[in-house]
Amino acid sequence: MSAVAAVTNPGVAARAAELRDAQMLERRAKVDKMFALLLVVQYLAGIGAALFVSPYAWQGKERVLHMHVWVAILAGAGFALLPVLLAFLRPGKPLTRHVIAASQMLSSALLIHLSGGRIETHFHVFGSLAFLAFYLDWKVIITATVVVAADHFARGIFWPESVYGVANPEWWRFLEHAGWVVFEDIFLIWACIFSAREFGTIAVRQAEVEYLSEQEQLKSAALEMALAEIQPATA
């Protein structure tokens, strides 16, 4: 049971829920903005990586801009546009953070591709999941995991070499990769639920303090009124 639901005074419970929701909204809106900035930085980093790793494709002496550079410019912009707009136009909304989670995972896939499938770039996925936990919404972690698993599953069927390095991996290989993500998810989801409950506990304490303060003010006002009534009589 959440801390808010356990409160017996309905006025305090309502105020605690209001405080919790407002603080959560403020936090999530800030995280949205953080991810908007991160997505833009990743976009630029992707273009930089493509220009550094594979700037041109060659045909003898002739060179043309490498496909990776185009992908970094166009696909990177396409992936970042919607989440960045949502972060500023619909901050704190559930849809915003789910789109951000999906886009962040797509950015991971793009960066992995631009780095030539380097194993080290796969750490981006795990780092991103940890950042997504800042939302304190475990459903966002699930969205990100589903996108990663779907990416691996689809590529495993149509294009297995790009993700597993071999042409004929076992059909369940995507589950092994997703399993490592789930390993991290378990702890992140637990942390999200635990931290969200703490938010509720803090909100209840604040609501109780406000309630007690109000009660004290009412008592003081009543006492002052009583004193005011006594004083003229004694004068």
Binding site: W58, G60, A75, F79, L82, G116, W159, Y164, G165, A167
Partner: protein, 202 residues
Amino acid sequence: MKRWIVPLALVLAALIWTGTVAAAYRAVRLFETTPGEAATAPSKWPSKSAIRRADGEWSLVMLVHPRCSCSRASVQELQAVLEKSPRSVRTHVLVYRPSDFAPGWEQTDVVDSAKRLRRANVIIDENGREADLFGGFTSGQTFLYDGGGKLRFAGGITSLRGHAGLNSGRTDLIDIVNARAESGDHPVFGCAISSREKKETR
């Protein structure tokens, strides 16, 4: 601001987002899985080649365009092949270099990694002359000739463009050189060695 502008912008961005996912996957897949032009390799070691081949010795030849980023993976795979090949196999990496380009143009990280290969001889191939003799068109193209000068393998040794990792090109080559298979071929992934005009005149 009019009330419909924000929802419209978001719907448009959502369409672009969805379209980008589909288009990016398709474009990248097409790019990575489309092989370069396969070699028309002579069945016997080309007699006009400047590379010396001793009778009885196996020879492994890889063509490399020094500026082809995908060829990093080919050189990496060549290292894996050499680690599992008999030491007697002579290995040559032919680095394409146009003679009218400034000296040093061919000095890239791809060539540096080829130079670091154990038991590999890096040779500058002026204007792709040797590549022409071996009938190769694509960077990463690998040929294996046996002790009698007979072609036993022609193809690439990466699974995709720019992707290192286990693949049948690499394993076939290792099997042949260790007498576990007779011959083989595999698609080659990389930049073109010859320019368009030169190809047309071939």
